[in-house]
Assembly symmetry: D2
Homo-oligomer: 403 residues x 4
């Protein structure tokens, strides 16, 4: 047991930190204003591709990839990648600069693990190269989708094609100007045993019958440039080759997809919470109210102390989850993955909430990243299944293990 980062991790992290300091932090406010401006809907800032090129040139690219893809990345373990991820996520959009952003990361992992050679050539390569983006289309408006067995979209074989019908929403990234691919989950085998009824299939965005109904607003923000689409699938036909792995394997793939994604999500919240705490510490040193520096008020000190304790604990939990995943795989790390999913967004929201109060009016504006972090945290207590679903599952597993 040891709590020190290895020299290699420290070295790689320092490289990322350098890149962040030189290229990302200076553009943080500019990016915020760009995406908030409705005139820029579904467009990246003009300099964004250049930043990606620089990251690629610097070799900070696709680092999320598991060891077997060492030609594309340094082949980091999850435990090694986690502390680097934390740094990348201090400014959330930096993840895409390093080609590590959701939902593309998860889609790439699915293709790498379950895709056919042709699927890899056609979709994985341009994704790994950052030339195209992709979306993940699972949640449906008509049912409680956190219980995936409720999903109603159908995938029906008809000769050499599958026909897809249904309505999805929260299909994130579908409005991205570079999006070309939808990864769709639907019911293919209604008569099969409960967990073998669903399949996952690749649908090019420009397929006939794919209708983007509207960009959803999340807390009144469309989250440009990726967006969250409500999508209608209206007799959408794709060749049978587009099925991933085989009929009835949708659940299995979804499970495998979620593990690393959730741990990455969780580390993002650690990074963002740390960011809020740093901003808060600086703010309270610089403001005076009622004859006293904010930093000298015990209520502020306590808020900072609590935040520190919560961040530190969550960081350790995410690292422990990453370590579990390395040693026992997503299944063996299941409880830990539930735990970080439950703990991290809530922790980050609490920390952001305190930072926001300490910033007064400025806290709710676009002039600091705090309000965005606050909302991202809140949103993610719903995204990927409401926390309640994960708590019930973790609770049941804990009981079972204790008997």
């Amino acid at each position: 047991m040891s709590f020190e980062y290895s020299d290699r991790v420290l070295e790689l992290r320092a490289r990322v930190q350098g890149f962040m300091a030189e290229h990302v932090f200076p553009r943080e406010l500019e990016y915020a204003h760009w995406v908030e401006n409705p005139e820029n809907a579904w467009m990246y800032p003009p300099w964004f591709e250049d930043l990606k090129s620089r990251a690629k040139a610097a070799g900070i690219w696709n680092w999320f990839l598991p060891r077997e893809y060492e030609e594309h990345s340094p082949g980091l373990s999850n435990l090694e990648f986690a502390p680097i991820m934390e740094v990348m996520c201090q400014v959330p959009w930096a993840q895409e600069v390093f080609n590590c952003s959701a939902p593309d990361r998860g889609n790439m992992e699915v293709l790498a693990r379950y895709g056919s050679e042709q699927q890899k050539r056609q979709w994985l390569e341009p994704l790994l190269d950052g030339r195209i983006r992709s979306a993940f289309s699972m949640t449906e408006p008509a049912v409680a989708s956190s219980d995936a067995s409720n999903l109603e979209t159908t995938i029906v074989r008809d000769g050499d094609e599958y026909v897809i019908n249904g309505r999805k929403w929260f299909t994130s990234n579908a409005y991205n100007p570079n999006c070309r691919l939808l990864v769709v989950m639907g019911r293919s085998n209604p008569e099969a045993p409960r967990h073998q009824r669903f399949s996952m299939i690749l649908v090019p965005l420009d397929t006939t019958g794919v209708v983007l109904e509207r960009p959803l607003r999340v807390f009144s923000n469309v989250h440009s440039p990726g967006g969250h689409a409500e999508v209608r699938y209206d007799n959408v036909r794709v060749p049978v080759e587009n099925l991933i792995a085989g009929e009835g394997r949708g659940f299995e793939i979804a499970q495998g997809r979620l593990g690393p994604g959730r741990f990455q999500y969780a580390m993002m919240f650690v990074g963002m919470a740390q960011r809020c705490l740093d901003l808060m510490c600086r703010r309270v040193e610089s403001r005076v109210a009622f004859g006293e520096k904010l930093a000298d008020k015990t209520s502020i000190q306590h808020d900072i102390a609590r935040s520190r304790c919560e961040i530190e604990q969550c960081r350790l939990l995410v690292l422990a989850a990453a370590d579990r995943m390395d040693r026992y795989g997503a299944k063996g790390a299941r409880d830990y993955i539930s735990m970080v999913k439950i703990v991290a967004p809530e922790m980050c929201q609490r920390v952001a909430d305190r930072a926001l109060q300490a910033h007064g009016g400025m806290g709710v504006t676009e002039d600091t990243p705090i309000s965005r972090i606050y909302l991202t945290s809140r949103y993610c207590r719903i995204a990927d299944g409401p926390d309640e679903v994960h708590m019930s599952q973790l609770g049941r597993q804990t009981i079972r293990a204790a008997l």
Copy 2:
């Protein structure tokens, strides 16, 4: 002591409820989509003036006005108005339909109480009539404005004019297409005793030197059609007649302005929280996850029970505050006004938070009012001074009273 609403209150409330049911609720979603659409920035929906006319025709207009203005309103006490306010606020923008919305309400009260005859004629009448809107310009970006003695904007007499210089923000309503008037607070008498250094003055929006720098985004929403402006006052000159009440009375007026406003704010949160709870109750009856209706899950039942308890308690507290204000005035009700300011937004945010979780993805979208209510509550834990300032004040007063 009695906890029953009087027949008069019940009758008036029923009238408002009828109006809400007929005219407001059916347009709730439409309004939401209108203001979210950037193309409609700083514009009201086309039917909005018509709704105001109908409300005025129905006599539901200016009911917030104190008894002495009985010709303009039914002359309700605060305690009588409170339960009606709750109904009006279930859809927050309805307040303006009834000419009771912030910050106009507060500005009208200031003019009614402290304004000269000429000020009343020029500004109060069109405000009472709903022809124009006004803004309140107090908070400054450079200082902790919750400690009003920090304010740096200056109001300097120069012959028959006052010259105003400074920078304000969160000047809400300044972008409103009907806004004509700014009520500005600034330092006029720097040598006077601490609480007599500030004055309040009327500044027509079109005065030379008034520069709206930008509309602030609050959680990335500009809050059209009113907006929150950052305003530069650059050698702004107004005639001395525009001063309200007299030099050095800024604090006194601000105090008087806040009492009724805060209790109204607080009741808004009760109304909005009740709305969220009602929506939640209906939602959980209609959704099934993991083989069970949401309504049958004990965690959901507990969330609803807690919400019910919190709403009920807060409602009683706001009513008690209104009653205090009627009996002892804003000063005698000071502690209660602090209490409702602290309790109500936090309560509403908690209730909205639970309703949001129970709605899954839909909760964060514009398809229900929940996400807006959630953000309004969060924002108001900062607006009008962060809760922490009010808690410190209430804490000190409680200690003093106990000795």
Copy 3:
């Protein structure tokens, strides 16, 4: 609607306050040391009966009794009694001085309402007179007793007698030196419809077969002089006349018993919480740490402000519940009774928790009432059914009402 206490209430309350100041507060610490001393187990302090006589002489006696018993009490409504109750409960054992203590109060109400003339003569009169005490025997160790339909104790008719068998615990007051009577709930009609299977019966404490197995420790305190007994009923035989009201009416009686009791309980927590807050306010004025009075630390101010807000809200809720009970009876006030049961102990524990922290080491000792109040609050989140049961019930009712 009005939030002012009537002159009558104010006058009666002042009388009780006077009595408390003269006779109760001066003995508070002495009582605490008496009951903590194991040598005094199951004994009252020698002066206790004298205090009761004085209260009776002062006419402050049996005030809880409903209007129809005006010969024994001033015939107060629940709403009138509530604020007086708050004063009585600032020192919890004072309730017995005024003959208003649990579980006797509830038992007296049951006898008054459902008892036969003979039962009233034999048991109600000495209880009203304060000569004897009684216990209530419902909870069982072997089952989740909050779901009363789980109870396993049997009441079987055998000729002119009922035979009782079973094991109960938390039979509070059974060790009281003056206890003479057990009110026992058991299953009498196993084949009847679900809510008509149970009966309530009077069992003199000295009946053969009644075995007090042990005094339970509640947080390691036996709660002398009343105690909480684990009781074995071993073929206990009582005459059929001892049945209350009729076979199968146990549930109905238990429901009726709980309403006023719970509201009284709740008001006790308001009184105790207010006591803690008062003590805290005085303490923080008198202590200095790290160069600053505790009262000047914002964290302390916030703790006091939050406590004030919570007490005030809870007080209003209990008053509203009392008012409902007056107007609509226990059934019509059901939701409010659930609410105060859920809200009050938790509120009091939070307030006591803060007061305890502010007192440092002294807070956990017997030198202030805070630690006892803290534990009473905690205990009562279980007593009378865990809060969770009440929240589920309230949640379900709220959903039902909203549809």
Copy 4:
């Protein structure tokens, strides 16, 4: 970085687990009843010494000792000892069976590190051998002792003796039948710089002038057999050789004493919380209420999930703190030591609180360890300085580090 326990730790922990299973758990309830019984005040159960002998014979003895004392213990690092400590603490009194209990552990560490050869011979050896016990006398009733510079007890040199005068309380262990030694902190050099005014001195318990005034009750429990004494020092004279390390070094020694002690404390809470969770899991599987196993209620599942998350995070934090202490010493680990002091008792209390609710009435009785764990946690949010003091300190340090 690695989250796996070493083989050595796993082996040693298994030995302790074996001892606990064979000797400690079977006597848990018996011990509880023994110490609760006032007739056994200040006495150990008759079998206690035998258990210590067995532990010593099994070599599980003094394991807390740092590496340099390898002849007395396996020479474990803090990080190695922590997981073993967790097992020992599942039944808190087991710590003394292994000679690792507070305050003796801390006193032994002080003597080992700062004691003279003679002090070690006279006091450290019998302590290490478990023949005597000791107390730590620092907190005073008259001042806020968490700010140690407030302490008023004096240590004045008079020839070859020091004369001690003052009043202490919470001198834990002073009533222990085996207690022979008091380690006393007092002001010796009032004119010195702030942090060099205090000294620590050894006072045999039987010295003339040492008066145990009373055993304090902590939540009405005297905590036999050790107790918490209020002690009067009335012209107590001890030879100058009894001073530890030198005049004015009291603060320095106190700091060094606290580091390992706090981390041990913290791990105790992890062990106790885990115990509560295990008991809760088993309980909810075995009880039915309202037609459903408790384990199937989502509110119970969530309570368990939250507890699991909190325990896991706190455990990791304590391990990280232990690791810091190994690598950087108590000073370098200062922030982490503050963090575990703040986090662990509160976490444990929350977990115990939920377990208590799930046990219904049984939860508050002596029939499970839950109620004791609950109170120990609550007490320790005060002991060793209220959490607020540690939060202020941690908050200030965090701000300083962020600038």
